[in-house]
Symmetry: C2
Subunit: 211 residues, 2 copies
DNA sequence: TGGCATAGACGACCTATGTCGTTTAGACAT
DNA sequence: ATGTCTAAACGACATAGGTCGTCTATGCCA
């Protein structure tokens, strides 16, 4: 039976999970997610196939863990902590999402079918919402709204906007896209309590440092 | 090879696809999506298993077609046409989403795993975005935004909000939720061109007629 | 009404999936 | 170092998934 992924003490568990995640990552450079079998993954990771099922219920849940972990790590590396409704933090999240999408898609995939994309998107959105929620969960919100709804709405809106930007042919550069998306989203965030230190948007610096 | 689902002339095709969709719908009342095999579906639909693959690539794509079709039908039945940024139309979409989520979840599922939910959500979101896009695609929008980005952002925001509302324990009634969610998303819609006939929100009537 | 195009039936085949029970070996504490 | 606990290996098995080629019969149009 699979065990939760965060904070695993036993180094053996970490090692094999790393191996499995690394294997999937490598394989996705060569073929699409749907073409990859659990056998393929365990072959590359050099663990027994049955062992795979000790950690993940199927390849979808492995993907899930990878996306959630990867995006969370990206946010952590950049020290993104959403302090209140400060637009700078929101910009950082938007930028991170742009970068993450770019990074994961440059890795080979023309996968225009099946469950891969929705699953991956769900993972990213969850991570975004959680980050935002940490910033707004103690703010007062007008009835019948809740901090959760604010965070979720903003999180989904951000991902939708970034996704659409990403798939737009001849899209604007990130440096333009981020403040534009920010403008769309701030009203949602402003619904929650008083604003942070910065009140109005001023297009902060947005150098894209790739993962 | 599977053929597109919309506007199928041949009645035989419609018939078998209806049978397959109906079978899945029935089966989902009894067990979770992941527990249902293609065999199960074709047994209930009384078609050969191989025939299934003539229409859908897998059970996920069947679900996809069902959700997209079902939600689209719901919107069509209610004559939801998103004329500009008029809040009434937005309310109708939000309400429809609430109802659809309620209807599909009352049908048995405690499915807290796997690809089912993300897949279903993706279908709903796509339908919402398409509907909104029809209303804003010819509106002028400030650079570097596009009508597509407006529509996608609003669509994802709406679904996220409704989802969060839906999963909130002891949630407010729809009649309160819809205008609240509307308040969150109108700013996004208002980014696009001049508003429709109604300018300010006034909490229009929102009787929930279930599907 | 008759012929044609083609959806669906059917059976066979191979691969992938998921599960079990047993055995091996590595991590960790004493 | 040594013993214990348990992750992982391993082999085996039953079921599900997906594909192919051929045959049948039904909808459609002339």
């Amino acid at each position: 039976m699979p065990i939760s992924d965060c904070e695993v003490r036993d180094p053996r568990i970490r090692r094999t999970r790393q191996a499995l995640q690394g294997a999937l990552r490598d394989l996705m450079l060569q073929k699409s997610f749907e073409e990859i079998s659990v056998q393929d993954i365990t072959d590359v990771a050099d663990v027994n196939r049955a062992t795979f099922y000790d950690h993940y219920t199927d390849k979808f849940s492995l993907l899930d863990a990878m996306v959630a972990g990867g995006f969370h790590k990206l946010l952590a590396e950049r020290n993104v902590l959403f302090d209140g409704t400060c637009p700078t933090a929101a910009s950082a999240i938007i930028l991170a999402t742009c970068d993450y999408l770019t990074a994961t898609h440059s890795a080979g995939d023309c996968t225009r079918n099946s469950a891969f994309e929705p699953l991956m998107e769900a993972g990213i959105v969850t991570a975004i919402c959680r980050t935002i929620l940490r910033g707004v969960e103690n703010k007062p919100v007008p009835q019948p709204l809740t901090p959760q709804i604010i965070a979720t709405t903003a999180g989904w809106a951000i991902y939708g906007a970034v996704k659409q930007w990403f798939y737009t042919p001849e899209r604007a550069p990130v440096s333009e896209a981020v403040p534009a998306i920010l403008q769309l989203v701030v009203p949602i965030l402003l619904t929650a309590g008083p604003t942070g230190p910065h009140d109005q948007v001023e297009t902060p610096l947005l150098a894209s440092h790739q993962a």
